[in-house]
């Protein structure tokens, strides 16, 4: 018997018992859609966690800092401290999966724009790798290595300007792209501290600065502060130290060292490996992945529980299929007997019954996916209040159905059908033809 005939005969048999087929399929629809929707909530949750964390900064960036070693700790004796210098930068660059490395220096200063002032962290970075580190320009351009006294503003910097003489805060009227601004490294600019005698006042240099651009919003890490090429920041720091007349204490950071080195990794799944490698070199390394891992673990457990609830209804549906097929065999005993006598092989009989039950499963799966999409849409549409409860915000979807889940559901529901139909099919196969024919 060829497969096409089995296909048509199976459909015909199911059609013959429309109501029962429909009810059995309905069971599978409920089972499949409940498992899909439950899992989609789990995916939504873990996506929400991911979105939330990625707002704090890039998930593929590792922040490397000076390792601290306590000589009293066993194993740390005589170990030389690793330094965050150009050698470290080069050695990170050679690691597998590392896309870009940028040393970072940070100092603090004030920017004066007419009567407005803003206290800002000034970050020196390598202009060559800005794109790799996810700097997105909102206005103007990114930094380039030749820029002198040119700054790139964080996305929300305009709001940080204030008028020191005003009594109430007003929206500052500044245009960062056009206004002329000066920069000073005086941390207390605009505050006349009466406790410091005028003789001890440091005469900080004031620099006229140009604006390269303003970063695009949406990334908390890039919203505050200004960016300059790292060589410029090194220069500024030197001049500040000169003005303050202090020298770096021995053991303190000298100018060949950086405060931090950022390492960009090609993919999230490699972050942990690279991070561990860097740690084993003696540095301290942090990434947002640390938080994400534990949050994802939580999401995974929630998803498992939800999926388990869905699985129960699918199990009930599977029993429903078995029941339907067993009933069908009781009714069709005589027919099976006739078919066996007139030349159906037992493989034909088995295939016929397995096909029917697989079709019930598959049909339930297909419609179940449709129902799941409707439910998922409904949840996302009407359930934003529920989402806010989780603190995920309105933009994140609560229920996400990945495309692979659709295919997995199709295969799985057909498989459930086959497994449920296996016992009935064996029963039909093993019916004695002569006994079956005698049944009235």
């Amino acid at each position: 018997m060829n497969n096409l005939d089995i296909f048509f005969m199976g459909i015909k048999n199911l059609w013959r018992r429309k109501l029962r087929t429909f009810l059995t399929v309905l069971g599978v629809i409920i089972g499949a859609s409940s498992i899909i929707v439950m899992l989609s909530l789990g995916f939504g949750l873990s996506q929400a966690f991911e979105d939330q964390i990625s707002q704090w900064g890039s998930l593929t960036t590792i922040n490397v800092q000076q390792g601290w070693s306590d000589p009293s700790m066993p194993g740390n004796d005589g170990r030389e401290d690793v330094k965050l210098d150009d050698t470290a930068v080069v050695s990170f660059k050679t690691l597998a999966h590392v896309v870009a490395v940028s040393p970072t220096l940070e100092t603090y200063g004030s920017i004066i724009n007419g009567r407005y002032v803003a206290g800002v962290p000034i970050r020196g970075i390598d202009p060559g790798v800005m794109e790799e580190f996810g700097f997105e320009i909102g206005e103007g351009r990114l930094l380039s290595s030749g820029d002198e006294l040119t700054v790139l503003f964080g996305s929300d910097m305009a709001q940080n300007f204030y008028d020191p003489k005003a009594r109430v805060w007003r929206e500052p009227k500044v245009d960062l792209m056009k206004d002329r601004m000066t920069l000073t490294l005086d941390p207390n600019y605009g505050w006349d501290d009466p406790n410091i005698p005028p003789s001890e006042k440091v005469n900080y240099k004031e620099y006229k600065i140009k604006t390269a651009g303003i970063l695009a919003g949406g990334n908390w890490e890039h919203s505050y502060g200004v960016y300059m090429p790292i060589t410029e920041v090194q220069k500024l720091i030197k001049e500040k130290e000169k003005a303050e007349n202090i020298r770096p204490a021995p053991g303190q950071m000298d100018s060949s060292q950086y405060q931090r080195i950022d390492v960009k990794v090609d993919d999230m799944k490699n972050v942990k490996d690279v991070q561990d490698t860097i740690k084993s070199m003696g540095y301290e390394a942090y990434s947002l992945n640390d938080q994400l891992e534990s949050m994802k673990e939580t999401a995974g457990i929630i998803q498992l529980v939800l999926g388990g609830i869905g699985a129960i209804s699918l199990l009930v549906a599977a029993i429903g299929i078995t029941n339907t097929m067993v009933m069908s065999i009781y009714e069709r005993t005589r027919e099976i007997g006739i078919m066996k006598v007139i030349g159906a092989t037992i493989n034909d009989i088995k295939k016929l019954f397995l096909f029917e039950s697989a079709l019930i499963g598959l049909l339930g799966g297909i419609i179940g996916i449709g129902v799941s999409y409707l439910l998922s849409f409904g949840i996302n549409h009407f359930g934003s209040a529920f989402g806010n409860m989780f603190g995920t915000g309105g933009e994140t979807k609560i229920s996400i159905i990945p495309i692979w889940l659709v295919f997995a559901a199709l295969v799985f529901s057909a498989l459930i059908g086959i497994v449920s139909g296996y016992y009935p099919a064996r029963r039909a196969m093993n019916l004695s033809a002569i006994d079956a024919i005698r049944t009235e």
């Binding site: 018997m1 060829n2 005939d5 005969m9 013959r16 005589r334 027919e335 006739i338 078919m339 066996k340 006598v341 007139i342 030349g343 159906a344 092989t345 037992i346 493989n347 034909d348 093993n430 033809a433 002569i434 024919i437």
Partner: protein, 221 residues
């Protein structure tokens, strides 16, 4: 009753030639149906051998038996045993479906066979819409459509009136002759046994006697 063992057949030895028409006759409980079922591979003997064309039926498993039946055997039953949900055409072509014959050619063959049995105008009727004689003719068409080597018939006229009985018997014997098939018929009707080359009389599970009817023997030779 209960655990008491009953020997439906005991010490039966019978050989049937190709193209022969054998009639098994006996009263109810004589073992004639059991013998037929065993020859067709529907029941297994507890002891002894059944050899058809060199194949030992008693050694075959269910899988092999179903295949053997598909290739070699056609059946006609007393109670017709048509599938009630299928039309005459579908019932007949079902046999060829199991053999893997494509749809167009099997429906053509089935329609031709139904015309042969005089049901050319009943192709799309269901069994419930036909008389007993018509149903039995459908089942004859079904038995012959795959051109089996042997056709077994178990009381094929048991549910039919006298006139239809002769029609049906003429049909069966005529077709078996036309297609050079071996024919084994079980009956308790002496008139039917007149058609046969040999008549095997069974009583209480034993062969009582075997009559050879020379008139028919000559016809075939």
């Amino acid at each position: 009753m209960g655990d008491e063992k009953i020997k439906a057949l005991d010490d039966v030895s019978l050989s049937i030639d190709k193209r022969e028409f054998i009639c098994l006759i006996g009263t109810s409980g004589s073992g004639k149906s059991t013998l037929l079922n065993m020859m067709a591979g529907l029941e297994k003997p507890t002891k002894g051998q059944i050899i058809i064309n060199g194949h030992h039926l008693e050694k075959m498993n269910e899988r092999q038996l179903t295949k053997f039946r598909q290739l070699n055997v056609g059946f006609v039953f007393q109670s017709y045993n048509l599938i009630p949900t299928l039309t005459a055409l579908e019932n007949v072509s079902l046999v060829l479906t199991f053999k893997g014959v494509p749809r167009a050619s099997r429906e053509k063959a089935a329609a031709k066979m139904l015309k042969n049995v005089g049901l050319g105008d009943r192709l799309h009727h269901k069994p419930s819409e036909m008389s007993g004689g018509q149903q039995q003719r459908v089942s004859i068409a079904r038995a012959f459509v795959s051109n089996p080597r042997i056709v077994f018939a178990d009381e094929p006229t048991g549910n039919l009136d006298t006139r239809t009985t002769f029609e049906v018997m003429d049909l069966i014997t005529g077709m078996a002759k036309e297609f050079n098939q071996t024919l084994v018929i079980v009956t308790h009707d002496v008139e039917i046994s007149d058609y046969a080359h040999r008549i095997v009389h069974l009583r209480d599970g034993n062969i009582e006697k075997i009559e050879t009817q020379e008139i028919h023997k000559e016809e075939t030779e």
